[in-house]
């Protein structure tokens, strides 16, 4: 390999040229196209995870359900969690980061456009890899155990990973999970972690280096701040789970005994590692939604965000404290009393910055002029539901109470209020809010409100009763419960609620599909917004900004449109409409040629190689296992080398002398500017 000069590889293939159609998507490095791919893929997985949830709820609708077998149920609750966390909420947030980060910062793309593409393809192949367990994995009974009817392996649907998304040792070891399904989960999560880690680095560099003139850190939209915090959380927490998963894979594949209790390994070590990652992960899921809500509430209240610095610092505090509370997932586990007390206290402190955010949001809308459009409804829904999840969260800090509540549906209720009522409502708020930006059309407001109404009702019907089901003794991850427990009636209510949520999602899909093609053409600045992404045409042109913007204040766009009178009330400047039209006109018609990062075949090849490598590790004892590993590694390395040899920007016939520009920062390719790296904290005002 070393003999091949990277430059040579770049010429092996024809350079990708398509700008529309299938190949343009495969080779794209445009942050907006990548965002769209992230979004649709994530939504596809959301539907899969949702169907899994419905299957689980059919099984639990009444006592002693027979709809699913134990193996199927255990598999479905595992993949439901893995799907919703790693294949829906995280990549959907990533879709927003990708689309909005450069737009909000005034940049042409992210710092590393091809790394951005590779992280998408790795994510996609990681997701496909996990779900390929449906066809390829095996799930026999624990060694010595017997499956119903003398079966050697669980039925097709039962071959998906079934150890819980937390993969607790030693149940995830070979003795108790002798099939390959756990390997699919462990290696799949490893792959998804790599994808997230790459994008985290990309976002951090983008935020620090790609801000437009005058965009000081404390002038960035809160959504960008939350992105930055999430990226740091990913950067610090993913290595922990990566190591834990390497240890688990080594235990399973190569006979090490990190977590094998019978050989002196420590199953509690796994729990510590898992939750040291797992708790920051919770904030990775919720902070993007908090960022979106912090954008939507001010726009639809026509007021600035109340306590901007407080909300930003509270986000940072939540992230920081999030690394010091992991053991509250283990209060009934084998941890010493002093640790229980200490982690109880640290868990309580999380409530303080969370409260600061909630109060500032309410203060933001207080005294405003609230327009109850769909994005606003979802953001208000977020606040209302998140408060419930936050309050039940405080009760987990009451350690002895948690001894009763942990591992029951009370916990399920809590984190669904936070992650569904919170994160998912936030994501839908964002989807509606930025729909005109993405498509250039308006969604159907009436259908949007029907979606909100159904989903709000469904959420409370589904997750509300889980609180008392848990307190009344309904234990998690049980595929049947006895009629004697008296838990049947409320479970029926929960299942009905789940189908109401499903109906609401159907309404959303109809709205999206219809509006994308037939919706009203979106006006310039449809929401009277505050941030830079609304100063450019919709849908966003490929080069984002025709003219590189300069900002002089937080919410610069708003201040260009509005003045304040003596009372401090906003007064629209007479020239505002004209200004908006002129800005959008100028940004849509660049006067100079704009160089964009060149498309590439290599990211998808790298992602595919990663997947082959993972298959090879699982089947390394088979004759074709090692060759698969070799092929995977070769694909990975050669595509990285090939990518290194590609030109940073396309050299066109008429522009051959442009080769000298290849030291351009791909994001600041405005030929009007000398490509000076921007100052970190915005020295210029």
């Amino acid at each position: 390999m070393a003999t091949i000069a990277p430059q040579k590889i770049a010429t092996v293939f024809r350079r990708p040229e398509a700008t529309t159609g299938f190949w343009s998507w495969i080779t794209t490095v445009d942050h907006k196209k990548i965002a769209v791919m992230y979004g649709y893929t994530a939504f596809g997985f959301f539907i899969v995870g949702g169907i899994e949830a419905l299957l689980l709820r059919i099984q639990l609708a009444g006592p002693d359900g027979t709809f699913l077998t134990a193996a199927q149920y255990n598999g479905l609750f595992t993949t439901h969690a893995v799907t919703m966390i790693f294949l829906f909420v995280m990549p959907m947030a990533s879709a927003f980061f990708n689309y909005l980060l450069p737009l909000m910062l005034g940049a042409r793309d992210v710092a590393f456009p091809r790394m951005n593409a590779v992280s998408y393809w790795i994510f996609l192949f990681g997701g496909i890899f996990i779900y390929s367990s449906l066809f390829f994995a095996t799930n026999p009974a624990p060694l010595g155990g017997n499956l119903p009817g003398g079966a050697l392996d669980a039925s097709p649907l039962g071959s998906i990973p079934n150890g819980g998304w937390f993969l607790y040792a030693p149940n995830s070891g070979t003795q108790f999970s002798p099939g390959t399904s756990i390997d699919y989960a462990a290696l799949g999560l490893q792959i998804l972690g790599i994808a997230s880690l790459i994008s985290a680095v990309n976002f951090i560099v983008t935020i620090f280096n790609m801000r437009t003139k005058g965009m000081r850190l404390l002038r960035m939209p809160v959504f960008v701040w939350m992105t930055l915090i999430v990226a740091f959380l990913l950067l610090f927490s993913l290595p922990i789970i990566a190591i834990a998963l390497f240890m688990l894979t080594a235990d399973r594949q190569f006979g090490s005994v990190f977590f094998v209790a019978s050989s002196g390994g420590d199953p509690i070590l796994w729990q510590n590692l898992f939750w040291l990652f797992g708790h920051p992960e919770v904030y990775i899921l919720i902070l993007p939604a908090m960022g979106m809500v912090s954008e939507v509430l001010p726009v639809f209240s026509r007021k600035p965000l109340f306590g901007y610095p407080a909300i930003v610092f509270a986000g940072g505090a939540i992230a920081f404290l999030g690394f010091g509370v992991w053991a509250h997932h283990m209060f009934s586990s084998d941890i010493p009393t002093v640790a229980q007390a200490a982690f109880g206290l640290s868990t309580m402190t999380i409530a303080i910055p969370t409260g600061i955010k909630i109060f500032n949001w309410i203060a933001t809308i207080w005294g405003g002029r609230i327009r109850l459009k769909t994005p606003m409804l979802f953001s208000l829904g977020f606040v209302a539901l998140f408060v419930i999840g936050g309050l039940s969260g405080v009760t987990h800090a009451i350690v002895p109470s948690d001894w009763q509540q942990t591992d029951t549906y009370y916990i399920v209720a809590h984190f669904h209020y936070v992650l569904f009522g919170g994160a998912v409502f936030g994501l839908f708020s964002g989807l509606y809010y930025w729909f005109p930006k993405l498509t250039g059309r308006m969604y159907n407001e009436r259908l949007g409100q029907v979606h909100f109404g159904l989903m709000f009702l469904g959420t409370n019907l589904t997750f509300g009763p889980m609180h008392w089901l848990g307190l009344q003794g309904m234990v998690r991850r049980t595929w049947v419960y006895s009629a004697d427990t008296g838990l049947g009636p409320w479970n029926m209510v929960v299942s009905i609620g789940a189908f109401i949520i499903a109906l609401s999602i159907f309404v959303f899909m109809v709205n999206w599909t219809w509006s994308k093609r037939k919706g009203e053409i979106a006006p310039n600045d449809p929401w009277d917004a505050r941030t830079l992404e609304w100063t450019i045409p919709s849908p966003t042109p490929e080069y984002n900004f025709g003219v590189e913007p300069t900002v002089t204040a937080l919410d610069d766009f708003w201040h260009q449109k509005y003045d304040e009178d003596d009372e401090g009330r906003a007064v629209r400047r007479p020239e505002a409409d004209e200004l908006v039209d002129r800005l959008i006109e100028a940004n849509g018609n660049p006067t100079t040629e704009i160089h964009l990062p060149a498309p590439s075949y290599f990211p998808i090849i790298a992602g595919f190689g990663m997947m082959l490598l993972a298959y090879g590790i699982i089947y390394h004892t088979r004759p074709w296992g090692i060759p698969l590993i070799v092929v995977g590694i070769l694909m990975l390395i050669s595509s990285l080398l090939g990518w290194g040899g590609e030109p940073l920007e396309e050299v066109h016939e008429e522009h051959l002398d442009g080769q000298g520009d290849s030291d351009h920062d791909p994001g600041s390719l405005d030929p009007n500017q000398e490509s000076t790296p921007r100052e970190l904290a915005g020295v210029e005002d």
Partner: protein, 354 residues
């Protein structure tokens, strides 16, 4: 029927359905796993910690949601011509301090009783009544080191006594939970944990393994029976007796033959029949010496109901013996292919083991 009428009818049915569902849900239900129904001093202490926090949370809930709702109702855009734009308020330092300080004080107030309860409830007091619990996929084994008794599925304890359970696991993580008596605690292979139990009144308390422990986690249940000290002493005496072998030719004797020949003795211990050392058994299975004295079997899942009749019990036992893996998927007890006659004989024998 006009569309409007049909809509109204539909609404009425929906309302009726919802009301009846709510009534069904709220009606007098026995909830044997209710964690809000403490039946001993430890559970009461936890309960006493839960409710104040709950009511504080309720107050905060109404204040915050009230403020949110009020803001929406008061400041809704009424679409009036010439309505003034809102004042552009960017923040207020005093308010920030206030809404940082108030939750901090509330939490500090909650923290004090929490921490003291953690330390009070953590360790077993000295001189407590000792029980050993071992978790297996998917049943709990109980033994009494002071009395040389080993049993399964039903833990019998004396009332008004501090019981200290020393727990460990034979395979994966399990979690022992009797909601009426205490919170839950893990059983960890290769390590020991302690759980305190204390029941005020004689009675039967239900439980469930709370940590996902593999295929049949849902079927790993538990039962604690608390007895007055005198009844408990009697129970101990009974348990320590070795049962008389049945007379030859009786149905019980037939059952013993099946028990010895069908492979049961490879895993199950029965005092007076086989006394294998632990290495000799294929899989550790419940000790059956006093099987008939236990109210439930098969991971405390059978027979169901609160007061099953002997017929129901025998029917449940027959279904279990006929095909254990279909009742408890993954079960280490295989389908032994027993005939109906063999099952009847086994039931007669097992039910004689008082």
């Amino acid at each position: 029927m006009s569309g409007r009428q049909s809509k109204r009818v539909w609404r009425r049915y929906a309302l009726l359905g919802l009301t009846s569902l709510l009534l069904a849900a709220c009606s007098e239900q026995t909830l044997p796993l209710n964690s809000l129904d403490p039946k001993g001093p430890i559970a009461e202490r936890i309960d006493g910690l839960f409710w104040p926090v709950f009511w504080i949370a309720v107050i905060v809930f109404f204040l915050v949601q009230g403020a949110l709702l009020a803001a929406i109702l008061i400041f809704r855009d009424r679409n009036v011509e010439g309505q003034k734009e809102p004042k552009q308020i960017h923040g207020n330092a005093v308010l920030e301090v206030v809404w940082t300080a108030i939750p901090t004080l509330i939490l500090a107030g909650i923290a004090v009783p929490t921490i003291s309860a953690v330390f009070d409830l953590a360790d077993c007091p000295t001189g407590a009544f000792e029980v050993d619990i071992v978790g297996h996929q998917w049943w709990f084994e109980y033994s009494y080191p002071d009395y040389d008794i080993t049993t399964a599925n039903v833990l019998v304890i004396p009332t008004e006594t501090e019981v200290c359970a020393n727990m460990t696991s034979d395979d994966v993580l399990h979690n022992f939970w009797i909601p009426n008596l205490n919170g839950k605690r893990y059983l960890v292979p290769g390590s020991n944990t302690e759980l305190r139990l204390n029941a005020d009144e004689p009675g039967e308390y239900w439980g469930q393994c709370a940590e996902f422990c593999g295929l049949s986690h849902a079927k790993m249940r538990a039962r604690v029976i608390a007895l007055d000290q005198s009844d408990f002493d009697l129970w101990v005496e009974e348990q320590q007796e070795v049962p008389e072998p049945p007379a030859e030719g009786t149905p019980e004797w037939e059952g013993l033959q099946v028990f010895q020949q069908a492979g049961c003795t490879g895993c199950h211990v029965l005092a007076g029949v086989n006394e294998p050392s632990r290495q000799d058994v294929t899989v550790v299975a419940p000790n059956l010496t006093h099987f008939a004295s236990r109210s439930v079997f098969a991971g405390a899942t059978l027979p169901s109901g609160f007061d099953p009749t002997q017929e129901e019990r025998e029917a449940a036992l027959a279904s279990w013996l006929a095909d254990p893996p279909s009742i408890k998927p993954g079960s280490f007890m295989p389908d032994l292919g027993l005939t109906a006659d063999q099952i009847d004989a086994l039931i007669a024998y097992l039910e004689s083991l008082e």
